[in-house]
Amino acid sequence: MNNVQSRTQPSPVSAVRIHEVRPPSLAVTNAVFIGRSIRHSLRNVESLLMAIMLPVMLMLLFTYVFGGALDPSGGYVNYVVPGIILLCAGFGSSGTAIDVATDMTNGIIDRFRTMPIRSMGVIAGHVVASLIRNLLATAIVFGVALLVGFRPDASLVGWLGAIGLIVLFILTFTWLFAAIGLVTGSPTAASGYGFILLFLPYLSSAFVPTSTMPSWLQGIANHQPITPVIETIRALLTGMPAGDYGWKAVVWCGAILAVALVWCGAAFRRKAGRR
């Protein structure tokens, strides 16, 4: 019934030019994906609240419930704040694994891949949204910490250094969780694997000095990435010298970040690249 050949009308009617449109630049592509992920974050109210409430609850718990026993002088809050911030960053960035896994299992990734764009921008979008989410949560944690007696003694340089390291830490873990989201088959599995990584802060000097641990555990606690990051942030905030911890923290984060980026690239190509 429809054997009408209609090659004479090549154009759909549109008020804008939609023929031979040049593909968007990398900057525009990434901006669009970042905007998308931020919208996702804002609309996932439960996750957003959880990412903010959990660290606040933990800080109150550690300060008021355990703090008295751990340090009767009442100074525990100054000790625990960096640990809470990292715990909060780890928890906040773990959501990226779920976001990425969800995108990979939904047909939408196929559409992105068949568009003339660099489709890995979809992952970058989730990472940037996670960074923004986490920095917001970190700011709130700092605010609450100040209310419950946290008294940092940091210079401007100290603050900048601490914030810089927190940003690096968040990026590192977010890319790591993005890679986990890419290699696991489903959002549920992604959230399960992500959970394992969240135990790392407990096995570090985040909540108690490692010297109070049994010697075999000290070996683990002193040689895992969280401890130097915690010690560096703590030193920067309290105006003390960070010693070796500073460069160790940066090297640990840098190395994990590099591995996570390569892993992400490879996993994305395998899962969403041209096979």
């Binding site: 019934m1 429809n2 054997n3 050949q5 209609s6 090659r7 004479t8 009308q9 090549p10 154009s11 759909p12 549109s14 008020a15 804008v16 030019r17 939609i18 023929h19 449109v21 040049r22 593909p23 968007p24 525009v28 592509t29 669009v32 905007g35 998308r36 919208r39 996702h40 609309r43 996932n44 939904n106 047909g107 939408i108 196929d110 559409r111 992105f112 891949r113 068949t114 568009m115 003339p116 764009i117 041209r274 096979r275």
Partner: protein, 296 residues
């Protein structure tokens, strides 16, 4: 001079030991609707994935608008739009945000994207739901949104993988109308379907894919005539079709068939002689042995 939108030559693909596409060859003329008809598992989606650069073929070649899918995937991506089997919309975003995002990703400026988005919302009758999240859309609305997204900018070839699967009759017919409108705009449409009626209604050319091979190709009329004239349809007293038998329509053949039927079926069985439907063609082509295959 490129006169074909899609050219496929001896295309092969297997997953492990299982051969999915076996030396496929066919061409689709520009500005036409081409329907790839086949049962589940025939290899339809695999073929669409190869043609849209999502997976690589094992052998043979495929060109879209003259661009090879393996050696020039970027050019292919600039020539196509894919609407996958499951409506690929962002459920968290609203309908308007979905379309606007794809306009931006297709290269329109943010001002042009806003204008184009409103045009597409109107064209696909989504204005009233534009501000609602796509997760709340019905199946038909999701499909319309999906199609709207595919048309953000003008790409010469549109792939539709089972566009109406799971839709009710009304939504299906409205989607058909929209697909025919797109054809009027000169877009080459490559669709897969397992519904014969859909291929019959929409397509200029139909290819029947079964077991990784094209078992027949041509216009709906040509395919129907392949089955050889007409069919005798037998209905029982509940008006259920119990059998269809191909016939050449001659007195001799019909008499012979009737003799056999009279011996096998109760006397109140009713018969009719009619033109073959696409269903008859499909059954005849996708099962082995033409004679037995035409058993309904």
């Amino acid at each position: 001079m490129k006169s074909y939108a899609v050219e496929v030559e001896k295309l092969r693909k297997s997953f492990g030991k299982q051969s999915v596409l076996n030396e496929l060859s066919f061409k689709v003329a520009k500005g036409t609707v081409f329907a790839l008809l086949g049962p589940n598992g025939a290899g339809k989606t695999t073929l669409i994935h190869i043609l849209s650069t999502l997976i690589k073929p094992d052998g043979g070649s495929a060109r879209i608008e003259g661009y090879d899918v393996v050696s020039a995937p970027e050019d292919v991506c600039r020539s196509i739009s894919l609407t996958g089997q499951f409506a690929a919309v962002d459920e968290v975003l609203t309908g308007r945000e979905n379309i606007c995002m794809m306009c931006r990703l297709s290269g329109l400026s943010s001002r042009d994207s806003r204008i184009r988005t409103e045009e597409l919302l109107a064209q696909f009758e989504l204005e009233s739901a534009a501000g609602k999240r796509a997760a709340t859309y019905s199946g038909g609305m999701r499909r319309r949104l999906d199609l709207a997204i595919s048309l953000a900018v003008n790409r010469p070839v549109l792939f539709l993988d089972e566009p109406t699967t799971g839709l009710d009759t009304v939504s299906r017919r409205s989607l058909w109308d929209m697909i025919l409108q797109l054809k009027q705009q000169g877009i080459t449409i490559f669709l897969t379907t397992q519904y014969l009626e859909e291929a019959d209604q929409l397509a200029d050319e139909i290819a029947v894919l079964n077991g990784g091979r094209i078992v027949a190709a041509g216009t709906a009329e040509a395919l129907k005539s392949r089955i050889g004239g007409e069919v005798i349809e037998l209905r029982d007293r509940f008006d259920q079709v119990v059998r269809t038998i191909p016939t050449n329509g001659s007195v001799n053949d019909v008499r012979q068939q009737l003799n056999e039927i009279a011996a096998l079926y109760p006397p109140d069985t009713r018969i009719a002689i009619r033109q073959p439907s696409m269903d008859d063609v499909f059954l005849a082509l996708t099962t082995n042995g033409t004679k037995e295959a035409s058993l309904a």
